[in-house]
Symmetry: C2
Subunit: 439 residues, 2 copies
């Protein structure tokens, strides 16, 4: 329990209560106690004029509860009663850190908490919506397979068909969140509502957990976002200020441990969300708005796709494995504009001659593939390799698995180069390339 | 020929000449004509007070040459005569865009120009040093193999032994520059002088070429840097202002086409260099200073190292290929803190049981591997995988090739975890993680 929690428990104060706080210098603040993440060092009180005030907990002399909050429903046992004035948000749990706690036997983190338990744990979610929770999988994201994407897509699709559901949240491990969120972007056509993927970089029972913050931001997104896209909602900076809502197909897990690990790659977030106030600021252009369309499910994925990263001395055997083992497609993350060592080119030819699709992305974080500039690239084109522009390798892999499963082989190249979900853009985009330092 | 060049040719003005320029609004500027890249839109004149002034060429009314520059040696034919007061810098050409021009038959860029030709083309280099140039390879960097690293290391080492050589420059393709520059960092022990890798994102005969700028910055680095490290010297921002000098083992080609494509990963540049003025600003901490040590050559590399990137549905067959085909080591770029799908773990065990080293890095751009946090990571550790901290995948691959060739198998794990060239750092480093946007 954090010091804020301890302090509040001591005086019996809960989020939503009307409180009076006295600071050590005599400042008196009166208002509604706002939700704060466990481990925060500030108490936030919403004043009657609408402004929020943060008070350093070390400087608090006295807290008094003036009035208890209006009793609100809590998740106890099964389903929650619907409140007529509240929108409904569905949370689909799949496992991952957001739904995990430390296993005190082995000392490691393992998935354990159900989505329903999360709702019980974060009652603030109910301030924005009625919540339905369902745990459909319980696996860490590194173990997600294309077959799981199909299952998640099916569950999300079923919820999107329900009129009363305002938006869907998928609680997911962060490691492969870009993959699954992109899979859903492709697998559900004519999306009609926002689908917000969220997760945690720190498990829910750690004081620094980002689970509550991210879930709260996702609920606000599900309820208020005007767009119907598959997005990733995670911390926008390391402190608990705002969350960034990034398009799934342009997002990368950029840091292994930081809470603000997810970045859009040369794409602005669609929106920022401030979970403590419920504010949302729209930023980037969205592809599709909320609608009454009936979304279609196209959720098959061909798992036999090889993803390879080119490097000096790369062995052509790696590529030929695709042919030997019956793979249907290959994505090669080339160097620079998409190159592979020239010695690998004959293997590309051998694959394409066998009807295996070979797509090329770049291992540079930013920028596009272009196989027309250098001699090696031209030879790759001659061998039948398909350059995939600025598509992220993760997204290209998902899209190829999807295209191979849902279209005829001869349609696959066309589908891959058709910008369906913002995954492939022309060059006329905002310049968001940044250097981490300045001379 | 750019418009600046045309303009200067017209009045017979050359870099280094004393000129008088009149602008359309009557402004008169007198000073020394400074080098500018082909294609620049500004003429730069160094005033007598030391300041540089840029004048929009579209606004120039008149240019007059007041005095020709002091005649300087030029590379014509074979070796250049040594000037007693100038330091000597050796440029070793290996191919790549910096030494390439457009092949007007196929329309693609191919390596063609020798390092010597480059010197002849950029006489400004001679303002800072006497230049020796030697072309030892002529290949695009995507075709560099570990055997080429050995050859480059040998050539660089031979130059470092010469007292009169102040520093060595390696002109190299950009695609795999991090690999080769890191290979040299490991292959030459007790480095005594700076070794500056440089290249170009645009070929030398294109107006926007960065070849001259980068080579000039590299010469200044080779002459003036107080450190003895293998570094990458490339544009520090997209315009022709300054170059960043980054430690090879912490650098990544971050963009497929931009001139400021190279970034240090959570590491400040060792220095910035302003090629037009010759200024150098030292920034990051360096590992080794210039010395009179005699560098040792340890330039063998074991090419049979597999580099694989983990992804959902990754096939264990990919890993088992290493055993079937006689590979000596594997670097797996895991998700998040270094995870692989759990189904791959038994294959790791099979490899390590056969004496094959399996090292783990992260595919997140930033952050460290940690296999102690999640259950999957623990299982990977049990299977004998070695977490490689924050080592970049590219650098881990090079280091493993080097360690396998120069140490006994039982020493390899220790060597891999020994921070030799800044490739592996503890957590107490500067925070240089940046988000590309701000709410």
């Amino acid at each position: 329990m954090s010091s804020v929690q301890a302090l509040l428990a001591e005086v019996g104060a809960e989020v939503g209560d009307r409180v009076r706080v006295v600071r050590d210098d005599g400042l008196v603040v009166e208002g509604i106690l706002m939700p704060r993440p466990r481990g925060g060092e500030y108490l936030v009180v919403k004043l009657d004029n609408g402004y929020n005030v943060g008070i350093d907990i070390k400087r608090i002399k006295e807290i008094k509860v003036l009035a208890k909050r209006k009793p609100s429903v809590r998740a106890e046992g099964g389903a929650l009663p619907r409140r007529p004035d509240y929108p409904l948000v569905k949370i689909i749990g799949t496992g991952g850190t957001i739904a995990s706690k430390i296993d005190y036997e082995t000392g490691a983190v393992k998935p354990a908490m159900s989505a329903k338990e999360l709702v019980e744990d974060i009652p603030e979610l109910l301030e924005y919506a009625d919540i339905e929770a369902e745990q459909i999988l319980d696996i860490l994201s590194e173990n997600m397979m294309p077959e799981h994407w199909s299952k998640i897509a099916e569950a999300v699709h079923a919820e999107l068909l329900r009129d009363e559901v305002k938006g869907v949240i998928v609680a997911h491990g962060t490691d492969t969140m870009t993959y699954t969120a992109s899979a859903i972007a492709f697998a559900i056509r004519e999306l009609n509502k926002p689908v917000a993927f969220t997760g945690a970089q720190r498990s829910s029972d750690r004081p620094s957990s980002d689970a509550a913050f991210n879930l709260l931001a996702s609920v606000i997104t599900a309820v208020n976002a005007p767009f119907a896209e598959s997005v990733i909602v995670m911390h926008g900076e390391t402190s608990d200020t705002f969350a960034a809502v990034n398009r799934a197909t342009r997002t990368k897990k950029f840091h292994s441990t930081r809470r603000d690990a997810f970045q859009g790659i040369c794409e602005e977030p669609l929106a920022y969300v401030w979970p403590w106030t419920g504010d949302m600021k729209l930023v980037g252009k969205y592809l599709r708005k909320r609608s009454n369309e009936v979304p279609k499910l196209k959720n098959s994925f061909e798992p036999k796709v090889l993803q390879l990263k080119a490097y000096p001395g790369m062995d052509p055997e790696l590529l030929l494995l695709a042919k030997d083992k019956g793979f249907k497609g290959v994505i090669i993350e080339g160097t620079g504009m998409g190159h592979v060592p020239e010695r690998v080119v004959p293997a590309i030819r051998e694959l394409t001659d066998s009807g295996i699709f070979v797509g090329i992305t770049t291992q540079c974080v930013h920028g596009s593939v272009n196989l027309n500039v250098y001699a090696t690239g031209r030879k790759m084109l001659d061998a039948g390799a398909v350059p995939l522009g600025d598509m992220l390798t993760e997204v290209a892999t998902v899209k190829l698995m999807w295209a191979l499963a849902n279209f005829k082989p001869e349609e696959v190249p066309k589908v891959m180069l058709d910008p369906l979900e913002g995954e492939l853009r022309d060059r006329r985009t905002l310049n968001l390339y940044r250097l981490p330092y300045k001379a």
